[in-house]
């Protein structure tokens, strides 16, 4: 019987022989990877979105490289509800979930077009250097491209990797240290501030502390909290309140506003 034909290479055994030798290279570490929330921002319309875009444009003028990714929001929740009733597999639900963040990204692009807003597809990361050097603001869907290959998670039919995960994983691939999530809250509180006036803001918390609290609800997708400790580059997730003027620009300039979840 024939033998397996292998490719002889001095490198072929190198990584298995010495796994610690892996010295990762950051792809585009200076890029700010920023999510614009779906339900929290996009579904609020002009009143919420326009001031945020003004601050993004201002940051871009100051030379800060920004990539915007969008969330889904209420239309995603609507299709998830109907798909769940129909017993659709998680991979089908995840595929349905791709379309709404894409619409939102296109909306943002139309608004930013005159300021260099450009709609990009998932595979366009390789063209980012050009776009950013030209002063563009690339806008894309935050949904990871897993689609039908999204795994089912026990106890739910909703895809575990949604737009928070997509933003985090984009940041991790690009080699940036911090992913910025623009939402309609200041970040984490000790309790729901809308119900409990005693609740205090948490400016900084580690992913492990967050996991240990085992909260029934968290401010970002659980997989992001799970991945943070073992990521190579993206070591911080920042949640800022896009409804408060100045917060987005401060975050884009690297200031510790809102809540930081760290690895």
């Amino acid at each position: 019987m024939s033998e397996r034909m292998t490719i002889p290479s001095t490198l072929s055994a190198a990584h298995t022989a010495a796994p610690n030798e892996y010295r990762p290279v950051a792809v585009m570490p200076d890029v700010r990877v920023v999510k614009i929330g779906g339900q929290s921002i996009m579904d609020r319309g002009r009143e919420a979105l326009f001031p945020i875009l003004d601050e993004v444009i201002e940051a871009r003028k100051r030379g800060i490289q920004v990539v915007l990714l969008t969330g889904g929001g209420t239309r995603a929740r609507h299709i998830y509800t109907i798909a769940s009733e129909l017993d659709m597999p998680t991979g089908v639900v995840a595929t349905l979930g791709k379309y709404i963040p894409m619409q939102n990204a296109r909306m943002v692009q139309m608004l930013l077009a005159k300021h260099g807003g450009i709609y990009i597809m998932p595979d366009d990361f390789e063209k980012l250097p050009l776009y950013l050097q030209l002063g563009c603001i690339p806008v894309m869907s935050g949904m990871p491209p897993f689609g039908y290959w999204e795994k089912h998670q026990e106890g739910s039919r909703i895809p575990p990797h949604r737009t928070d995960a997509g933003v985090f994983l984009s940041c991790e691939f690009l080699g940036a240290k911090r992913a910025i999530f623009i939402k309609d809250e200041d970040g984490l509180y000790t309790d729901d501030p809308k119900k409990n006036p005693q609740a205090t803001h948490i400016p900084r918390i580690t992913a492990q502390q967050l996991i240990d609290r085992d909260l029934p609800d968290v401010v970002v997708e659980r997989v992001v909290v799970e991945y943070l400790p073992r990521s190579r580059w993206c070591k911080e997730v920042q949640i800022v309140n896009g409804l408060k003027p100045g917060q987005v620009l401060a975050a884009l300039e690297g200031q510790d506003v809102g809540t930081l979840i760290t690895a």
């Binding site: 019987m1 024939s2 033998e3 397996r4 034909m5 292998t6 490719i7 290479s9 490198l11 072929s12 190198a14 990584h15 990762p24 290279v25 950051a26 339900q39 929290s40 579904d43 609020r44 319309g45 209420t74 239309r75 929740r77 609507h78 998830y80 509800t81 769940s84 017993d87 659709m88 597999p89 998680t90 991979g91 998932p122 990871p144 491209p145 897993f146 039908y148 290959w149 795994k151 089912h152 106890g155 739910s156 039919r157 909703i158 990797h161 949604r162 997509g166 994983l169 984009s170 991790e172 691939f173 309609d184 029934p216 609800d217 401010v219 970002v220 073992r230 990521s231 190579r232 580059w233």
Partner: protein
């Protein structure tokens, strides 16, 4: 008629998940049910090993093509192929360069595709076609026309490959990709065609005392999953959480007739079942 709901600064569409946090476990559990719809329950997934079959060249590939040409007349199958040693070489170079995990995941799919082109070239006279990434809704047309689709085996995780549990190599390869396709489409079974008689307690190429596991349930197997495994660990992890695929078979593609028997539902090679005892 579905209503648009306003009043809190946002515009919602009336639905069960309206205003809700999709991180809330109680909310998430509302979306769950016992079963998924089974979209293609009469189709089998056939995954052909890269290193185990294709890297052996003509003498291993041609007899298998003959067998595929024969079985495709009687069974609805979707075929996928692995990439083999070229994938390992890509990984070795990429790791040495320090490319990020997502970058490595983006690269490797091209190597599998080469084997898919070879297989298509050999199987096309018998009726085969490459299937675009997720063009699953074309499948009824393929089967009605007697065409066997050859699918892309590597899952589209690409730049978004999550940080691996250990090391920097992507966890989601072609074994997982083909399994997940079978899972999401509710297929009858997934058959992995390799160069061993099935799953052994350890690598039979290295250990003479390795024992073949002819039949086992996934639940039993997970209690003591062989570290040296003919399939990727990610497949077993995913299957444990999955809900549709009930049967995975590993057969020896170097022994003519094994694949045919597996497709006919016979217990050959290693048969792993989930749920009910095998």
């Amino acid at each position: 008629m579905t209503k648009l709901v306003t009043g809190d600064g946002r515009t919602h569409i009336q639905s069960q998940l309206m205003r809700e946090s999709l991180q809330d476990r109680k909310v998430l559990s509302k979306t769950n049910s016992v079963r998924d719809i089974q979209i293609f329950p009469d189709v089998s997934m056939v995954s052909i090993g890269g290193q185990s079959i294709f890297d052996r060249g003509k003498s291993a590939i041609l007899p298998l093509v003959d067998e595929l040409a024969a079985v495709k007349k009687h069974h609805k199958i979707v075929i996928g192929v692995g990439g083999g040693t070229r994938v390992r070489h890509t990984m070795a170079v990429a790791m040495d360069l320090g490319l990020p995990t997502g970058g490595i995941a983006q690269l490797v799919g091209a190597m599998e595709e080469l084997n898919a082109i070879l297989l298509n070239a050999l199987l096309a006279p018998h009726g085969s076609m490459p299937m675009q990434r997720d063009h699953f809704w074309d499948l009824p047309l393929y089967f009605d026309a007697g065409i066997t689709p050859i699918a892309i085996s590597v899952p589209p995780y690409h730049f978004w490959e999550p940080p691996p549990l250990e090391g920097a190599e992507p966890m989601h390869g072609s074994d997982f990709g083909m399994f997940q396709m079978a899972e999401v489409l509710g297929m009858k079974q997934a058959i992995y065609v390799k160069d061993e008689d099935g799953l052994y307690t350890k690598d039979p190429k290295q250990h003479k005392d390795a024992k073949l596991i002819p039949q086992i349930t996934l639940e039993e197997l997970m209690k003591d999953l062989p570290e040296e495994n003919i399939l990727d660990h990610e497949l077993y992890r995913t299957w444990s959480e999955a809900r549709n695929v009930k049967r995975v078979v590993i057969v020896n593609g170097l022994k003519p007739g094994q694949l045919t028997k597996a497709l006919a539902g016979e217990n050959v090679g290693t048969v792993i079942t989930k749920g009910a005892a095998s």
